[in-house]
Symmetry: C2
Subunit: 266 residues, 2 copies
């Protein structure tokens, strides 16, 4: 089984004031997935980020931070606004993917998962198996969930990949981002950025965190931490550039694509 994450930044239009999906990007990615499935049947789960839809309300209402009982009514509204914003993004993504012939079925994390201190601690994946068995493509995305310690929190698409890969024993984990993989600096602003073909330990991570441009990498450190947990369990993953035409198709076809492999092996 393949778990394919598509980063929110690729799917949403960052240049727009309003939250908007990037229709051209969505259509291209969907058609690449479709082309690969037409070549041969594959069990596929799609995970997508919250992009420009989920982050603003989550940030405004500080979802995931400790709060006083008196703030609960306001926090609830923040939770609901965030859930609804990511639902809207998911609806638009599914619309585009269905138009390209992909049988995508959404299974929102908020309807079956619970966290403890921002980590998923409960989430029965039976419905993923049921839909996969019937030839559907389950879709899950960055969402809000109840938290036994913090009451409510945000679960990222990256954490979802890890949870799904472990509990469904995925064969392949692919992260489509807007960069070619992991660099020690932001390659868009630094010509001397060094590219990592492979990432295999927290020591490599130290190298990365030591750079001054760590924030500019757009949450790359967080992604790698999730993927190193997976690597510990023997599940290798690959970060690729989903904005490069045909990369998604090629990686699904097991063809050579530039990217960073996260594994514990050599």
């Amino acid at each position: 089984m393949i778990i394919l994450k598509i980063g929110g930044s690729i799917l949403t239009n960052k240049d727009s004031a309003e939250s908007e999906v990037d229709d051209a990007s969505l259509k291209r990615i969907a058609s690449e997935i479709r082309a690969s499935l037409d070549n041969s049947d594959k069990e596929l789960i799609i995970v997508h980020g919250a992009g420009s839809f989920g982050h603003p309300p989550a940030k405004e209402y500080k979802i995931g931070e400790e709060f006083d009982e008196s703030e609960y009514p306001e926090k609830r509204i923040g939770f609901c606004k965030t859930q609804n914003a990511v639902k809207k993004l998911n609806m638009l993504i599914c619309e585009s993917f269905i138009d390209e012939g992909l049988p995508v079925v959404a299974i929102p994390a908020s309807s079956f998962m619970t966290a403890t201190d921002k980590r998923i601690t409960e989430g029965n994946l039976d419905y993923f198996k049921k839909y996969l068995n019937k030839g559907f493509i389950p879709v899950v995305y960055g969402d809000v969930v109840l938290d036994t310690k913090l009451e409510i929190c945000v679960i990222s698409g990256d954490q979802l990949i890890q949870y799904l890969a472990i509990n469904l024993n995925a064969d392949t984990v692919i992260l489509g981002t807007d960069v070619d993989g992991v660099y020690n600096k932001n390659p868009k602003t630094h010509d001397d950025a060094i590219f990592f073909e492979r990432f295999s330990s927290l020591e490599d991570l130290d190298t990365l965190e030591g750079t001054t441009n760590v924030d500019v990498t757009g949450g790359m450190v967080g992604k790698i931490k999730e993927l190193l947990y997976l690597a510990d369990l023997g599940i290798e993953s690959k970060i690729i550039n989903a904005e490069t035409k045909n990369n998604i198709f090629k990686v699904l076809e097991n063809k050579e694509v530039k990217g960073t492999i996260i594994s514990r092996g050599n």
Copy 2:
């Protein structure tokens, strides 16, 4: 605990060519619910229908009818289109309700329920309890689900009410429709239509089915059948007109509202 169903016909704009929600109606209903919750805390679950969003794709792809294995790819797409259409309706409803200060959290049936021959046979309601315990208002709606006999089917909001009411042991079940309750004929076209204050047996139903206008009642027979199951288990329900201003508020406040009570008692 109160289960409040709001009919799809009240929430969507039937006169429009495109699927549209009825914003004014949504805002009014949300504000009536909010006013009642401001009066006193209540455990509330909202169920809504699929309205003009879900019916067209479900009908086009004949979801719920037997089909040949060769038709599966097409049926899957129909399933996905229907799921996404009702998700869109739910997103718009939640948007409006959140704007009025209602902490609504969607829990789609497709993410945790299975049917057998169009009847719900599996659906763990733990997440309804969890969200209720934290002061949220869970929202569920007419949706598509996997079916162990027919592969896929549609689950109506009316069937969901029944399932939730039984399994969560609801105190009060209210159906907001676009008529005052049950008549033996369509009251909009028949001046001599007789109104039922109370409905308590399948024999009453025969009276209704004997009329020539049974289809015009807009699925009222189906609703009553679901509610008579509930009545058998001692759970009384009431059909009211949600288009009449303040009816939702009054019924939530346990005040007198014209309507039809479905019960086995006298």
